[in-house]
Structures are given as C-alpha cells and as structure tokens.
C-alpha cells in the first residue's frame, strides 16, 4: 500500500486553495429574520440593495417559536452563522450580556445626524440602547392597538343606548371593553351579526402575557416592585386576570390556545367586533384582497392607554466576517429614503417620517393612532415605567404566560394561579441573582 506522493501533494494544494478562497470572496452576509410582514417587504426590495452595493444577502426566515433559541445559540457559541439578526426588543439585555453584539458606536460617529434624529426617539433608545451604547436599529415597530368595526358601532349605537343607558363609544377602560364585547356576542344578543364580540389570543407564553400586562398596567398594577419582589399576585393582578376570563366569554372558547395571527384571521373573516392586536397586522386588516372588513375597521388606542411595546430591531453579530457590509444592510433597511416604500409593501419602520407622511396616513389611517400609542407603550421587561429591565424575558414570559393560561383554562382560580406563578418567578429571579449573589 504505497502512498502516491504526487497525488498526495495535489490533494493538499487543492485543500489549501479551498481555505484561501473565502478571503477573496465577495462580501456576503447571512441574515436571520422573523417572518413578519416586514420580512417579505425586505425580500421584495432586496435586489436594489444588492445591485447598488454588490453585497450578497441571504435571508433566512424563521418562525417566531424558534428564532430566539437559534439566535442565542449563534451568539453564545461564537460562530457567526448569522451576521445580522432580527431581535425582538425585550431580548436586548440578554443579547448584549452574551458579549457578542456589535455596538454601532463607530458607525454612528460617522453617520449623518439627521438619520439618527429621524427615528422615533423613545423607540430608537428603547430597542437599541444599553448602558450608553447603541446595538440595534428598530426596523419593525409594534404596539398593541384596538381594531373595531366602526360600521357596527354606528349601526347598533341606538340599541346599545337602549340597553345600557349611555351611548356606544370606543371603550376606554377594560370593564367597558368587556361590556361592549358581551353586547356584540350573538349568544348573548341574538340581534347582532357578529358571532363574537372580541377575539383574543392568550396562548400559553407571549400572547397570554400580552393580554394580561396591558390590563394590569391600565388598572395601576405592577409585576415587580423596586426590589424585584413579585407583585402581580396582589388584588389588582387578580382583577386583571378576572377581566380576561370575563371578556373571554365573548370570545371563541379556544381563545387561550390562539396565537396572534389566528386572532387576526378571525377578525378579518368578519364575525368579530373588536380585537386588540399588534399594529404590524394592520397592513393585512386594511388590505381589501385579504380582509372582509378592510373598509369597516376603525383604530383606537387600547383601553387603559397602556399598550405593550412590541417590535423588532436589527442587530449585528460581533464575530461577523463582514461588519461593514452588515452595517450597510442594517442601515439600508432603516434608511429614510426607503421607509415609505417599505410601508407600501407591508413593513413598518421606526421612523417619524412614516407616521407623519400625508400619503401614508391617507392610505393607512391607523398610523396616527399607533404614533400616539408609542408615547404610552411599555416594555414588558421593566417592572415600572422607566425602570431597569430583566434579561430573562423568555423564561419569565413562559412561566407567567403558562400560569395565566392555567387560570384561563379553568385549571386554577386566578388567585391560586398567580400565587403559584409568584413562587416560580421568585425562584427564577433568585437563581438569576436579582436578590443578591447566592
């Protein structure tokens, strides 16, 4: 078995060439994105970016359930499989703490100040700022708004007045919301055309938390106090949970196994009077080709005026081979020139110009309402307005979301569910070091 020296040498040379090739390769970045409407928007407009800059961009769209683990694994393992990632804004603390996010500082120093000022400032800081450094640009903003059938509100305002003694108006408290929901539910009120007064999405985890927090905050409650002790099992917390259960009677009985997109589909099919939904879904709801109620829908700030701040930002992996190319891409997605175009194809960038542009406002009347909602929107990771944030959102969301879901499914009473959840969350906070080092 003689080894042929010549062949051996040839193989070695080919291997060496193979390793050297990436160094001379054209700039190419991998992007992982959440499959919201804006991902399609970016895909549609991508060819113009690639032609202009010569940078090849590979976009991978991942469902919401998997994207957090995938991105966190990529960040913590040091491999930069993805150069740019779309990050749900509550994950900022967690991602920065891995030590693998690229701060934008040196790019911002060279940046045109008007570019930075064009962002809605509290979103720009809220999504991207941590300990003085900026790590992200908000390319897809999100806030909960109330979508309602303004045609039905007009049509039945007299009936409502007869039944309750005061006119039918857009609800400003959750008690009113529950009442109007009951009014528009066929099984309680056979005269109305809608089967359900409301749609709700309270799937165990994020959606359950979304329904809960806006009520908790509206009623003046808090999840934690300043010392990070759990507070959501006090009487306000229980009241908020009871309100969901009460309102749930006017929603499909499987509401606590529904996700946001299913709730939208239900509303768009026309058999529901109101939903509280992320503004990112507004594009679909007002699209006549997809929605039966496109021209019958009105938008308002959520009851209680304390919507949850959602929305996604783009971050760069520190270990990327092409940081400049990655930044160019991130900047392009957030550029003022393209912002308007993005909205027309389904996106919603965090730039003030988008919300004030007269053409856009004419086509999408929800924009001013959304802008107003951003003023009072709250991040779900802060225990109180303006306070610090917890990094362990995924786990917190999972535990509290599951606890709420248990109460909604009728397995436990609201107080019991919240008390049990308090024990688990306290344990989690303890392990994470919030009560002092162990």
């Amino acid at each position: 078995m003689k080894i042929n020296g010549f062949l051996f040498g040839v193989v070695i040379i080919f291997l060496m060439i193979g390793f050297l090739v990436p160094v001379f390769a054209a700039e190419e970045i991998n992007v992982i994105m959440y499959g919201a409407p804006s991902a399609d928007a970016i895909n549609t407009l991508l060819p113009s970016f690639e032609k202009e800059t010569g940078i090849k961009v590979n976009i991978e769209i991942t469902p919401h359930k998997e994207i957090h683990s995938k991105e966190l694994l990529d960040l913590t393992s040091g491999t930069a499989n993805y150069d740019v990632m779309s990050m749900d804004n509550p994950w900022l603390q967690e991602f920065v703490r891995t030590g693998n996010l690229l701060p934008f500082t040196k790019y911002i120093e060279k940046e045109d100040p008007k570019f930075i000022e064009g962002f809605i400032q509290n979103i720009y800081k809220g999504y991207g700022e941590y300990e003085g450094e900026i790590y992200a640009y908000p390319y897809q903003v999100g806030v909960q708004v109330l979508f309602y059938r303004k045609d039905l509100f007009e049509q039945y305002s007299n009936d409502y007045q007869k039944q309750y003694g005061y006119p039918l108006e857009v609800p400003v408290t959750f008690e009113e919301y529950a009442q109007i929901a009951k009014f528009f539910t066929k099984k309680y009120n056979p005269n109305v055309p809608t089967t359900y007064g409301v749609g709700m999405a309270a799937y165990r985890g994020g959606p359950a938390l979304a329904e809960y927090c806006m009520r908790l905050w509206a009623m003046g409650g808090r999840e934690f106090d300043e010392k990070w002790n759990v507070q959501f099992n006090d009487y306000i917390g229980v009241k908020a949970l009871e309100n969901i259960i009460e309102t749930g009677k006017s929603a499909p009985s499987s509401y606590y196994t529904m996700y946001f997109d299913e709730m939208s589909k239900q509303y768009m099919s026309g058999n529901t009077a109101m939903i509280i939904q992320w503004d990112a879904f507004a594009g679909e709801i007002f699209d006549k080709t997809k929605s039966q109620v496109a021209d019958k829908t009105g938008v308002a700030v959520v009851p209680g005026t304390q919507p949850m701040l959602g929305g996604w930002a783009l971050v760069i992996n520190k270990n990327t081979k092409f940081p400049d190319a990655a930044y160019k891409f991130v900047r392009w997605v957030n550029s003022p020139e393209l912002a308007k175009e993005f909205v027309f194809v389904g996106g919603l960038p965090g730039r003030l110009s988008v919300f004030k542009d007269p053409d856009l406002v004419a086509k999408y009347p929800f924009l001013p309402v959304a802008l107003k909602s951003y003023e009072t929107a709250r991040k779900r990771t802060t225990p109180y307005r303006g306070g610090p944030a917890i990094a362990e959102l995924e786990e917190y969301q999972e535990i509290l979301g599951a606890g709420i879901n248990e109460a909604l499914a009728g397995q436990k009473s609201p107080k019991e569910a919240l008390d049990d959840t308090k024990i688990e969350v306290t344990k989690m906070m303890e392990n994470a070091g919030y009560y002092g080092k162990k």
């Binding site: 960040l75 891995t98 799937y203 165990r204 499909p252 499987s254 606590y256 688990e424």
Partner: protein
C-alpha cells in the same frame, strides 16, 4: 506491520464503531454528568461555576418537574395499557382462520406506524379543531355539543393519548400476531381431548405461551412512550397550562428555551435514574417471565 494487522484484526475492525460510540454516547454522557453539578446559563458567559447537588435539589423540589413526571407516567400508563389490550384483541381477531383479508389488513395496519409523529400530531390537531375539525362535526351529528378538545386539560391529554394509541397499536398487533402464529397446535388438541372449554384453553395454554411476546411488546412500547416529544409538541406544546407537558418537553424548555444547561443536565440524569429503576425492577421481572415461557 501486516502481521500486526492480521493478528489483531478483530479489535481493529471494531475501532471505528468504538470511536463513534465514544463521541456520540460515552463522552456526552460523562460531560453531561459533570455539567449537572454546575450552574451554567448559556447566555451569561463567565457565570459558570460548581454548585454540587444544588441543581438536583432544585429539581426534586420543583412543582413543575413533578407535574411533568406525573403527566409522563399517566401518558405512558394509559397509552401502553390501551395499546396492549386493544392490540391483543385485534391480533386475536386477525388470527381467526376465516379472515382471508389478513395480508391486506396487515399492510393497512403498518401505515399509522410509518407516519412521522409530527405529521400524526398535526393531523390529529386539525381533526380536533373547534371550528372545522371533523371530530366536532361527528359529535354534532350525534347531537352532543362541540368541544374545544385541545383546550381543556383533561381532553387535551386524552387526545394526545388517543393519537399515540392510533399510531402504535399496530406495533403491538404485529408482535402479538406473530406470537399467535407461532403457537403449536398440539397443546390445543390435547386440551380438546381433555374436554377443556375455549376460555380454559386460553388461560392455561395461549396466555402462558404468549407471555414472551406480550413482554416484548410491553417493554418496547414503554421505552418508546417514555420518550415522547414530537406529537405532544405539535399538538399542544405542553398546554393548556402544564397539563400535557411531558418530561421531554419540560427538558426542552429548560435546555433550549431558557438555556439553563446545568439544570437541564441534572434533569436528564434524574430521568435516566427513573428509567434505570424501571429496568431493574420491571424489565428484569418481565424478561424472566418471558424467557421462562420460551423455555417451555
């Protein structure tokens, strides 16, 4: 050199397999064992440190862990019990000589087993859909009210069990049927001569002779059912609440959603612990009974 290879060829041939086994099984096993005594949150680099038995104590005092184990035990117990009884009965039916269609039925029975668990789970999830699922349609036909099958804890677990029964009863049927077809006719002829009734024949001849096959089906099903993940994940993701969160799902959340690798490693070993106790107690007992049956 050639002589060395020739003399020790036995060992040299198994080296590739040993290497693979080491990389895939032995090394991860030992490493996970070591990690189970550490605190290691993947998103927090630098926080990794030794904590001794703290992880194990935390888990064994965690309500959610015991709830997962309870759900798993209920699931395994119910599915396997139903599959064994149903499988045995159907195999007995198929064993009757009049069933000319046996080859066709046997082929049809394999189909549920060949379907990917994810596909099975998704299909059953669609069938149990409140608005347009076929289950509610049939229920309404009988005159009963439609239900949200996956939305209530009791019915959700029931549906998961039913899906598993649908998928794996054929497995039991095939094993038991093979057993039936291997039974010798002589004991039965002797029993007829002795005037035994059908029931007595079953109890004293069939059942003892079938014990190895029943034992085999039982052990294989329990081991496989213990590890269930795909079907439950796709149908309910552990909900509503925690009512269908089997231990593999619980482990998935802890390891791959929250990245508490130390805790997850400890859970893995506790799960292995339960499996070991099960094997020591039950498999030994069942295997001994089965082997004794074969010896006769």
């Amino acid at each position: 050199m050639i002589n060395f290879i020739r003399k020790n060829s036995n060992y040299l041939f198994i080296i590739p397999a040993v290497v693979v086994l080491f990389i895939i099984v032995i090394f991860p096993f030992i490493y996970t064992f070591l990690v189970s005594f550490q605190f290691w949150d993947l998103p927090k680099p630098g926080s990794r440190h030794f904590v001794g038995f703290a992880n194990y104590v935390d888990i064994l005092t965690s309500k959610r862990f015991w709830s997962s184990m309870a759900v798993t035990f209920i699931f395994v117990g119910a599915s396997v019990a139903i599959e064994m009884v149903l499988g045995f009965l159907i195999a007995a039916l198929l064993n009757i000589k009049l069933v000319i269609l046996r080859p066709i039925v046997r082929t049809l029975l394999i189909i549920p087993m060949m379907v990917t668990p994810v596909v099975a789970g998704t299909t059953w999830k669609l069938m149990t859909n409140y608005e347009f699922g076929i289950l509610n349609y049939l229920v309404k036909l009988i005159g009963l009210p439609p239900r949200d099958w996956l939305g209530t804890s009791f019915t959700a677990l029931t549906m998961v069990i039913i899906t598993d029964v649908w998928q794996w009863t054929p497995f039991v049927i095939l094993i038991i049927l093979a057993g039936f077809q291997s039974l010798p006719p002589e004991p039965y002829e002797a029993a007829v001569v002795d005037g035994a009734s059908n029931l007595k024949a079953f109890r004293y001849i069939t059942f003892p002779l079938m014990k190895p096959f029943i034992g085999l089906a039982l052990i294989l099903r329990v081991i496989y059912a213990y590890r269930i993940f795909d079907t439950v994940f796709v149908m309910t993701r552990g909900g509503p609440g925690y009512s269908t969160e089997v231990i593999s799902l619980h482990l998935y959340y802890i390891a791959l959603n929250f990245f508490h690798l130390g805790t997850a490693s400890a859970i893995s070993f506790i799960v292995i612990g339960f499996a070991t106790i099960f094997s020591l107690v039950f498999i030994n007992k069942i295997l001994i009974v089965s082997v004794r049956g074969l010896e006769r």
